[in-house]
Symmetry: C2
Subunit: 135 residues, 2 copies
Amino acid sequence: METGFLKEIIIKMDKEKYLDMDACSTHHLAIRDTMDVLSGKWKIRLIGSLSFGKKRFMELIGSIDGIAAKMLSKELQELELNGLVKRTVLNTKPVTVEYELTEYGYSLKPIINEMALWGMQHRERVIRAMSVKKE
Amino acid sequence: METGFLKEIIIKMDKEKYLDMDACSTHHLAIRDTMDVLSGKWKIRLIGSLSFGKKRFMELIGSIDGIAAKMLSKELQELELNGLVKRTVLNTKPVTVEYELTEYGYSLKPIINEMALWGMQHRERVIRAMSVKKE
DNA sequence: GTAATGGGTTTACTTATGGAAACTGGTTTC
DNA sequence: GAAACCAGTTTCCATAAGTAAACCCATTAC
């Protein structure tokens, strides 16, 4: 496990009294913890993309529509810091770098899957509403 | 179903060709759709809070630590526009307003629950890492 | 030697997001 | 008549987040 990212997180978590909390507060806090890790415009989509298999930097640029190199770089670093993504430099010429989900990263799949499922149902619902409107 | 919010969403969705897409692209798009609906700092926490039952404006202010009236008002409006939250004005003096999840709003529960679950496990993991470090 | 490649970083800029505090408005209690 | 209550809205401001474009470095192909 990485140690660099711990400092920040420990400071954050020390502020909260996670003892003697009721179920509702625990629930809230847990949601916030998850949202902290998944903050930013691209992280969830990045994890979604990597859940289909390892990819190189340029492949990710291509696969995630609209992302700029700066953002990709930044978000990957944060995911790596949290132990969700593993970065491997291959000694090819020129160097290529592979990114893949760690086992811990894969543990986010249920969230991603629920989001994908809901999104599809939502889209169908909206499209249905469109056709009803046209009539 | 509300009609006001449809205009925007239809414009957005019309830009995408959701026919002839592979599974991976569909997945990405669905995730984006969900993230659009849940965008903003407070929406997920708001839904989490309302999933415990209906609440008044001031109760929400109290229950969601750190939220300002302006933000609460804005996020509630967006959730209402998307048909996830129902707003009821009660004719008490002074008026009180009740907010509750619609059935559609409740359909987000699996996502919220997965996030809460992951967040709790993540916190435990980090705390374990803390105690290992101390040794 | 010039261009291209992969994987970035830097700079300069714009926009989105959010926060604090003051204010509105109708009603009711002191 | 003053103050308090609920449910907001408005204004003004600060910072975070994101974008586009240029640049860097080593290497290899033309």
